[in-house]
């Protein structure tokens, strides 16, 4: 939350429409994302009720568990879902690029593409994560054998959910969070968690404004929740009688059909909204650093996919080294993601300017060929004076980079009222005179920031086998256990 976003929200209230808080799209959008809307049975940790999914908005697939408490029906559903997800994963691989070998000469590959799953909200991610946990350890042989696709589904869902933890990753996106990254509404974050209400502010139906569309969206009878929980009155008045009739009939097809119809009625409005939300996001130009972050997603996908056959299912809990590395990675991703977004998007950079960590204004003086001759060899050190109205909170000597060309580095020499004098230190070429057009000229508008991308180096962590005794020593290797295969899923 910042004053800029708060202001955007006030403007949203005043205008009755959501207001932009980004000028470019900060996430990757695949051409054929797999949209998934999972529903679960209320009161249960991971009892799936239904999922509507597909890559074609005109042809959703509806998977339903007519009696969510029945183990066989549930595993049957899991197997069907698995086929859909694995099919998508395989279809979205594309060709394999061979990269330069790594420093230690290892071969490196990267798939050209990667799968992408779109879900409505945070709750859906939590549910997919639990679904992953409850299926990835299932055994495909022995007395409790399940369809081989079931544990595969578990491992893939776990991978998607883990990637979702990483700032800037786009393989599993939640619509509410992604939309909120680009628009501010006249309601609180709590209400924005309702996809229909959020979309009501951003894209109200004909003849409605944001508040009236959001109010309509809060009536669960006309606007079913986006899941994973269904509305209690739907459960009590529609679903429960339908499930009871299914039980009573001994699993009769038409009783199942009635449940499917009831569940579909709760999913279709969200399905349509999800695709409409994707339209809106797609209409935004992609941020400059989005492909670079998507490359990281493709790397992770390539690695996971290539190692899939050889690897055990992901551990229930991370061991010490893995947990430390993961935390470090997440923090680093967060840092660079925020920095990259600011460079991509002047509206995000405005946050830094408001905080005084960056400033923008008009160049008033420029000495492009100034040399610093205090050392043995003269160094190219142009001076640029900038007039700014921003509340600069930088110390003299602070290092800054140009927002439009992060390669151009400088140092704050003095700040005098609204005038900032910079000495440029790098990014102008190797000669004693700068490359043409690099040093800003009087009359030009520029923005410099003190926050740079990728400011952290990678840290070293011990190998798994070398976990120090203070952290419990090396963890045991994974052994498939009967306990995992038989774990009740009720």
């Amino acid at each position: 939350m910042s004053t800029l976003t708060a202001l955007a929200q006030l403007e949203a209230i005043a205008s009755g429409r959501a207001q932009p808080v980004a000028t470019v799209r900060h996430c990757h959008l695949s051409e054929t994302p797999l949209v998934m809307i999972p529903l679960k049975l209320a009161g249960e940790a991971a009892a799936p009720l239904a999922t509507m999914l597909g890559t074609d908005r005109n042809a959703p697939t509806l998977l339903v568990v007519p009696q969510p408490r029945n183990r066989d029906l549930r595993f049957g559903y899991a197997a069907e879902l698995a086929k859909a997800v694995v099919e998508h994963v395989e279809a979205e691989r594309g060709a394999t690029e061979t990269l330069e070998p790594s420093k230690d000469g290892e071969e490196r590959f990267r798939y050209e593409r990667a799968p992408q799953i779109i879900v409505p909200n945070r709750g859906s991610v939590g549910f997919l994560r639990l679904l992953g946990r409850s299926t990835r350890f299932r055994s495909t042989e022995g007395p409790w054998a399940v369809d081989p696709a079931v544990p595969m589904l578990g491992r893939w869902l776990t991978w998607f959910a883990d990637r979702n933890d990483r700032p800037g990753s786009s393989v599993l996106l939640t619509l509410t969070e992604t939309l909120r990254l680009h628009w501010a509404t006249g309601q609180s974050s709590l209400e924005d968690g309702n996809l229909a209400a959020l979309m009501g502010w951003i894209d109200p139906p004909e003849g409605m404004d944001g508040p009236s569309a959001a109010a309509r969206a809060e009536d669960p009878v006309v606007s079913p929740p986006a899941g994973p929980a269904t509305d209690p009155t739907f459960d009590n008045e529609v679903l429960a009688p339908a499930i009871a009739a299914f039980d009573e009939s001994g699993g009769e097809p038409r009783a199942e059909e009635r449940i499917r119809a009831a569940v579909a009625s709760q999913l279709i409005p969200t399905w349509d909204l999800a695709w409409r939300a994707l339209d809106l996001l797609r209409a935004l130009p992609e941020g400059a650093s989005v492909p670079k972050r998507w490359e990281r997603d493709r790397d992770s996908f390539t690695y996971f996919h290539r190692e899939f056959a050889e690897s055990p299912p992901q551990a229930k809990l991370d061991d010490a080294v893995r947990a430390a590395r993961r935390l470090h990675d997440l923090e680093r991703s967060q840092e660079s993601y925020e920095a990259q977004r600011a460079f991509d998007d002047p509206l995000v950079m405005a946050e830094q300017r408001l905080a005084g960590q960056a400033f923008g204004g008009m160049v008033t003086e420029s000495e492009p060929t100034r040399l610093d001759e205090s050392g043995k060899r003269p160094k190219l050190r142009p001076y640029v004076r900038i007039r700014t109205e921003d509340p600069v909170r930088l110390d003299e000597g602070a290092t800054v980079v140009n927002a439009a060309r992060p390669g151009l580095k400088g140092r704050v020499v003095e700040i005098d009222g609204q005038d900032v004098l910079l000495e440029l230190t790098g990014g102008m070429g190797r000669k004693q005179t700068p490359e043409p057009g690099v040093v800003p000229e009087p009359g030009q508008r520029v923005v410099f920031t003190s926050r740079t991308a990728d400011s952290w180096g990678a840290s070293k962590f011990p190998e798994r086998e070398d976990t120090p005794w203070t952290h419990g020593g090396p963890p045991a290797e994974y052994e498939p256990a009967d306990e995992d295969a038989t774990e009740v899923w009720s």
Binding site: G251, E252, R254, E257, R258
Partner: protein, 311 residues
Amino acid sequence: MSGSPGSSPDVLEERIAELRAAVRRAAAGGDREAARSLRTELRRAEQAWDEAVLGGDPVMDSPTPAQARRDVGGVARGLVPVREQVHQALTLLGVPAAPKLIGAVHGAFFPGEIPATRLTSLRRDEERSFRSAPYARPYYLCAALTADLLAPARGLLTVSTWPLRQRIVGPLSARVDFLTAAIRVAERAKGTDTGRDAGVQRLLWRFAATIPGATGGTVGTDGAVEPAVVAEAARAELAVHRDADGRDRAAAARRAADALDDASLLFGGGLRVLPRRTATGDGPGAGLGTGDNTTTGAGESPGDTTNRRRR
């Protein structure tokens, strides 16, 4: 207004959607009357849709498996009345028991199922019968009494012909009765050689899982629980609690016999007749028997108090 069989599916669908919305709004708004009548209308419309779209009345066409099962159950229930079934199970157990355990025991050892819905009203029916014609039946299914207040214990059933002390529950009795039940079920399984039946195994597991030593290291190669081991483990723990529990029950039984009339002895006397406690002198409980708060209780249906909603 209800969907007549002649209406077109489109009209019916619209009608169903409208009714569903109306029912949900009525339920959310707390208007139970409206919700109930709307529900009836909705069911009618849904049925009409079924007939119009899916064709035919499935109930008429052919009996579904569940219905077939129910018919079998009906026959079994026809042979043995519910109170008889409960009596059978309680006699096997020999201790006050909750409906769930009674149902499980009956299901494991006797033919037919006890319909759960019938159990909730059973105690009330028995009390009514006793009060209108005392001792007209050879036995009544009645309440267990709490040792301190001689009030009906929630959710427990007993048999009127049992000695009074067997029908009283003190603080240790729940455990003692659980262990006793485990022993009797295990003995029965051994005696009738039904220990491997699925229903009996489930029941034995339920006991064994929470009795120390009842499963440990003794589980057979097929994962089955051994009745003899369950019985032995239960006896070992029972020995720890039995004497203290017996003293509590005997003392309470003496008090009850002195203080309660016949109906109260069977179905719970409530507080009106609670004698002054001597053990704790004028502790807070002592005032209960004479205070103003004690006018209720005797006639109150114990079944009502178990009907609690979750908050």
